[in-house]
């Protein structure tokens, strides 16, 4: 009997600590949740603003998005997000949040901004696992390489020149790393092609979404 009691008390002690530990984590979560959400929002917005300076749009970029299902034509195995920038209620640019699947080690997450006229507003790498010192030259903190995309479009350079120099294209590769820039150039090109062929559908999808949220009486497209 006393043995049973002993086990019971031990179990209760363990349970008590589980409750106390969980309470500690719960309270910390409560205190920090808003701040963390804020941080993540700001970090993303800062990245988006590098591509599209805040004076170039006047809507709430972070909350004006459409979601694309996984699509082979865009090289995406998972749903991807498109941020829609508007200026005076007209769509002025779209920023694709995509993954380039064929990096040297795993996928490269990036943002590709395309102006409504089909020129590139800019490209930024969000995260990657490429070799430090070689593949990470594509990061804006390490070099200007990624700025080379600014202003390019589907016809400028011509289709067959949308490659790294080693493959006969116009984009620099970095010393010792060809696979990484090749993957990035390919992904950017895919975005441009997709945008060119599906611009109308994308805009339609967005308009439908706005209508839907308006009919649901929710603030659909809050203006900043």
């Amino acid at each position: 009997m006393s043995n049973k009691r002993y086990i019971l008390v031990s179990g209760l002690i363990l349970g008590l600590f589980a409750v106390v530990g969980t309470a500690l984590v719960g309270v910390t979560h409560q205190v920090t949740a808003d701040k963390i959400a804020d941080n993540e929002r700001l970090a993303l917005l800062r990245k988006l603003n590098q591509i599209l300076p805040s004076e170039k749009y006047d809507n709430d970029l972070l909350h004006t998005t459409i979601t694309l299902q996984a699509d082979n034509r865009l090289g995406q195995e998972k749903p991807s997000t498109i941020y829609i920038a508007k200026r005076e209620s007209e769509i002025s640019a779209m920023i694709f949040s995509v993954r380039a699947p064929r990096g040297y080690s795993g996928e490269i997450k990036m943002l590709v901004g395309i102006n409504i006229d089909g020129t590139l507003a800019g490209v930024r790498i969000v995260s990657h696992k490429e070799t430090p010192g070689l593949g990470d030259i594509m990061e804006i903190d390490k070099s200007d390489w990624v700025l080379g995309f600014n202003g390019k479009s589907l016809n400028e350079p011509a289709e067959k020149l949308w490659k790294v120099k080693r493959d006969g294209g116009v984009f620099d590769q970095f010393t010792g790393a060809t696979i990484t820039p090749r993957a990035v150039v390919q992904a950017v090109h895919l975005c441009l092609v997709y945008f060119d062929r599906h611009k109308k559908e994308l805009i339609e999808q967005y308009n439908k979404q706005v209508k839907l949220s308006a009919s649901n009486n929710k603030p659909g497209d809050p203006v900043k």
Partner: protein, 231 residues
């Protein structure tokens, strides 16, 4: 162990029984994040805080926890403390948090922390336990920073880069550049560089220890010979 010697605790934590150099615990995060001084310092301080807090709690409750359930209780305490630290860093040191990433939650699996809870805090009163946590943490941080410095100088040719992640905007210009246009030394940046650097630090510690021991034995031997001569 009941008779507390604060000097001894400090020496053990910082040098004689250093978590990283002697106990060889917590090597996974140690090798993974020490690419720069600031990364090393960030993880070191987070580990230090965890050690102090977990030692404090474990020491406070040491009379109530029965031996059969003590390990799960300790693990639970450490896990809650680390999660709380992780959330706080995410909130107030966001950029450093994004750099250190997965290695903050992985502090839970740093055996050094459970080892201190089990071997020290559960058998000692509050003050020595806090001191032990502090000193063990400092010893660990010291190794992280040293290894970070070696790898950053060799790998990037700089020191204290990205200090603003930790100290805010005033630290924007803290980076020391040793060599302009340094092309980088990949070996130092990649994991093998961490292993080699760690090996060198351990070797250096052993050299210093052997040297000190030799000195001691020589003085002791001299004392013996003189006493024999007089006899």
């Amino acid at each position: 162990m009941s008779d507390t010697n604060y000097n001894e605790i400090s020496k053990n934590g910082l040098w004689n029984n250093n978590v990283a150099l002697v106990q060889l615990l917590g090597l996974c995060p140690l090798l993974a994040v020490t690419g720069t001084v600031i990364n090393g310092l960030g993880l070191g301080l987070a580990t230090l805080l965890t050690l102090v807090l977990s030692n404090t709690v474990v020491s406070l409750i040491r009379h109530w926890v029965r031996p059969e359930v003590r390990v799960p209780v300790f693990v639970m305490i450490i896990a809650s403390v680390v999660t709380a630290i992780e959330l706080s860093m995410n909130a107030w040191l966001y950029e450093l948090y994004t750099v250190l990433g997965i290695f903050i939650p992985l502090i839970v699996t740093n055996c050094g922390i459970l080892a201190r809870a089990e071997a020290f805090a559960s058998k000692n009163s509050l003050l020595p336990s806090i001191l032990d946590g502090l000193m063990m943490g400092l010893g660990f941080t010291f190794v992280l920073v040293t290894l970070g410095a070696i790898r950053e100088i060799l790998g990037y040719g700089t020191l204290f880069s990205n200090a603003h992640l930790m100290f805010g905007d005033i630290a924007q210009n803290w980076t020391w550049v040793f060599v302009e246009d340094y092309s980088g030394f990949l070996l130092a940046i990649l994991p093998p560089g961490a292993f080699i650097g760690m090996g060198l630090i351990i070797a250096l510690k052993n050299v210093i220890d052997t040297h000190n021991k030799k000195k001691q034995t020589i003085t002791a031997a001299q004392a013996v010979t003189t006493s024999e001569a007089t006899a």
